[in-house]
């Protein structure tokens, strides 16, 4: 009897231990990652919806389309667009959206499935390096031919077209014209009109003053919370960190580098200091603040300034802030403020899965052609999703997004800052930088750690990525 029990216990131990390992293996093979990952951010995991093929209608080919969408902001619009396409052609289009900040891991698990995404996206050269074996050469596709310029195509080292940008976006500091106007009326206001903010020093002066007079103005702070939850930290570790990289590349006359010097890190610190001191919350709370927190603070008129891009319109519209009150300023950096525009570029490139079946590839190409050429598709992309696209076909379809208008207006006689964060060596580099910035912000780390993560981390990650 004793032996039987012992044997049973041994078996149980082994089973439990195997479960421990199988748990990890299973996550990758069954791609449960997508759902479990969704829980880590409070952003919505867009309901994945499969649109059924209209039975017996004009089924042109046997192929299916599976689009793994990157942008949670436009999740519902994509699903609606896919449905329309299915109604029109009978081709099944499945759209899934990864939760904010979890695209790479969702893609990785989805790609291992037999029903892998036929259409996915990479964020630029660094993302492409990881996925290029899965990217079809898009040279002969209609979408590529519709591009306004070759600049919007993502090319591999051998010159093949691996990705096509489908949206051009701009980010900077979104501000509430109404609140800022109200501030200008206050006694002792530093400016009389919003147009006087033309440099970092001026912006800082105004932000400090708004922070001091926040009760008189009825706001919680000058800037929204600089949250470091994964749904928000990219605004700083990626988008804000673009500026020191942009100016260094410009000064060194290069487009990428193996070792960054960090020449402009002092400017970077000044901007970041402003974000965390003139803000709606204590810096010690930043680790838990989400992207939704910042968006709602701005949308409800609790803060005047909000660093984000044109894509944020969907999150803030329909609240306290009227569309006419939305304005945009560049992230003044104290280097060349008079000429510096907003940051304009793309990190959204469509790629077609080269390992999908020929039918599916054809179906995907047809779908993309329809999206950028049909009235339905163009209307959805420009009006419903609010995208500025780089396609020739969109000349009559300009988005109604007021942030896009504000950004274009400001950029008219300025030099836009290009998106150089696509050359950041790896996700890990961004994460390390983000962690160091958070620790600095909440007072548990030094600024030197940020410098180390930025400069030394770059060299180390660059080397690791190339090996």
């Amino acid at each position: 009897m004793k032996n039987v029990k012992r044997f049973a216990a041994l078996g149980m131990t082994a089973a439990m231990a195997v479960t421990a390992l199988a748990g990890c293996g299973a996550a990758s093979s069954s791609a449960g990652g997508a759902t479990s990952a969704g829980a880590q951010s409070t952003t919505t995991k867009a309901a994945a919806s499969t649109t059924k093929a209209a039975s017996g209608s004009t089924a042109s080919s046997a192929g299916k389309v599976y689009y793994l969408n990157f942008k949670p902001e436009q999740a519902d619009q994509w699903v609606a667009l896919a449905k329309k396409y299915t109604e029109e052609t009978g081709v099944q289009v499945n759209v899934q959206t990864a939760a904010s900040g979890t695209y790479e891991q969702t893609l990785k698990s989805e790609m291992a499935k037999s029903e892998a995404p036929t259409l996915f996206q990479v964020n630029g050269p660094v993302g492409l390096a990881n996925w290029k074996d899965y990217c079809l050469d898009l040279k002969d596709t209609d979408v590529y031919k519709d591009l306004q310029s070759d600049d919007y195509a993502l090319k591999d080292t051998d010159g093949s077209i691996k990705g096509i940008a489908y949206v051009i976006e701009t980010y900077g500091i979104i501000y509430n014209k109404g609140l800022l106007g109200k501030y200008c009326q206050l006694d002792g206001a530093k400016i009389k009109d919003a147009s006087e903010i033309t440099s970092f020093d001026k912006l800082k002066e105004v932000a400090d003053d708004i922070q001091a007079k926040k009760d008189a103005l009825g706001v919680e702070g000058a800037f929204t919370s600089a949250g470091f939850d994964s749904s928000s930290d990219w605004r700083f570790k990626t988008h804000l960190a673009n500026l020191p990289i942009y100016y260094e590349y410009k000064a060194e006359n290069e487009t990428s580098t193996a070792a960054i010097k960090g020449t402009y890190l002092d400017n970077f610190k000044k901007v970041f200091d402003m974000y965390i001191t003139d803000a709606t919350c204590e810096p010690t709370l930043l680790s838990g603040k989400t992207g939704d927190d910042a968006a709602s603070e701005f949308a409800l008129g609790e803060a005047v300034f909000y660093q984000n891009g044109t894509w944020a319109y969907n999150d803030i519209k329909g609240n306290e802030v009227a569309d006419d009150d939305l304005g945009m300023l560049p992230i003044f950096f104290g280097v060349d403020d008079a000429k510096q525009g907003l940051c304009t570029g793309s990190e959204n490139y469509w790629c077609i899965n080269s390992k999908a079946s020929a039918d599916d590839i054809q179906a995907t190409k047809d779908f993309l052609k329809w999206v950028v050429e049909s009235d339905e598709g163009r209307k959805s992309l420009s009006t419903d999703m609010g995208f500025v696209t780089p396609f020739k076909t969109f000349s009559d379809y300009l988005p109604a997004n007021p942030l896009v208008k504000a950004a274009n207006e400001y950029n008219k006689d300025k030099t836009p800052v290009s998106w150089n964060f696509t050359t950041m060596p790896s996700e890990q580099w961004k994460n390390d930088l983000g962690s160091a910035m958070l620790e600095y912000a909440q007072g548990t780390g030094e600024w030197d750690a940020v410098k180390t993560a930025f400069v030394d981390g770059w060299a180390a990650e660059y080397k690791a990525a190339k090996s």
Binding site: K2, T13, L21, K108, S287
Partner: protein, 280 residues
């Protein structure tokens, strides 16, 4: 009789065996194979030998999460077993509503880890907000947050096992001890505890492995923040696999090492506490 059992053995064993093979053994073997490979998705792996294992120990986050997890496991194992035993003792006395209390204590165990983690992060962050801190302010906050969460979740479960054990102790043993003049404390120390050895074995085993393998509570409560400092081992493996392009194999190698550690610890524990069991 013996023969009949032998004849029908395959029929009874096969379904479970197939499920076990598909669910555990096959992924396990694939997992070991992948730990020697470089891959982006698991369908296009290339064998590269041991270099993944070399990278595991160069990775500071792994070493950190290893001792962080060890500490976490020891603390939760001791606290859960102690508290569960105390509650079990209390609820086997004849007190009013003890069945109701048992049910209530057991309930947290019915809620999934992600939901629990999310609820507790709201609760704890709400409390910490008085001091303008959050759970992810530093790894110590996250650590105790996870300890509280796991205690709340697991005490009820272990309590049920202890209650079953206590109820199984033959009444005459306690009675004999009483007649011999044993005090309450002596009854507990020399009758109840030795008779509960097998329950203790099961409970320590479960809490030990649960502590080591904890993942979803970790994900929902702190998500490893700040700076991957509140990452337990399972979560560290997950972020390596999914979070770092090119490091998928390293994540898999970590998983194999993780398996060896959990296996070794659990077997040792089993051996040590089985030795002291009383046979009835």
């Amino acid at each position: 009789m013996e023969k009949a059992i032998k004849r029908y053995l395959p029929i009874f064993v096969l379904p479970t065996l197939i499920a076990f093979t598909v669910g555990f053994i096959a992924p396990f073997i694939v997992g070991i194979y992948l730990s020697f490979c470089k891959f982006t998705t698991i369908t296009d792996a290339k064998v590269i030998g041991f270099s993944n294992y070399a990278k595991v120990f160069q990775d500071d986050t792994f070493v950190h999460s290893l001792w962080y997890t060890t500490l976490f496991t020891i603390i939760t194992m001791v606290l859960i077993n102690f508290l569960a035993f105390v509650v079990a003792l209390a609820l086997t006395k004849k007190i009013r509503g003890s069945y109701l209390f048992r049910t209530i204590f057991f309930m947290p165990n019915l809620i999934g880890g992600i939901v629990l983690g999310y609820i507790w992060s709201l609760l704890l962050n709400g409390i910490l907000a008085y001091w303008s801190k959050t759970l992810t302010y530093n790894a110590t906050y996250g650590f105790w947050g996870m300890v509280i969460l796991l205690l709340w979740q697991q005490i009820g479960y272990m309590m049920i096992i202890y209650i079953a054990g206590i109820q199984n102790i033959p009444g005459e043993l306690i009675e004999a001890a009483k007649i011999d003049g044993a005090t309450k404390w002596q009854q507990l120390r020399y009758v109840t505890l030795p008779m509960l050895r097998s329950s203790i074995t099961v409970c320590t085993f479960l809490t030990l492995t649960n502590g080591f393998k904890m993942f979803d509570q970790n994900l929902a409560l702190t998500n490893g923040e700040p700076s991957e400092k509140s990452e337990l081992l399972a979560m560290n493996i997950y972020t390596t696999f999914y979070g770092r392009p090119g490091w998928e194999g390293v994540g898999q190698a970590k998983a194999v090492i993780f398996f060896l550690i959990v296996g070794a610890v659990a077997l040792t524990q089993n051996y040590l506490s089985r030795r002291k069991e009383v046979q009835q």
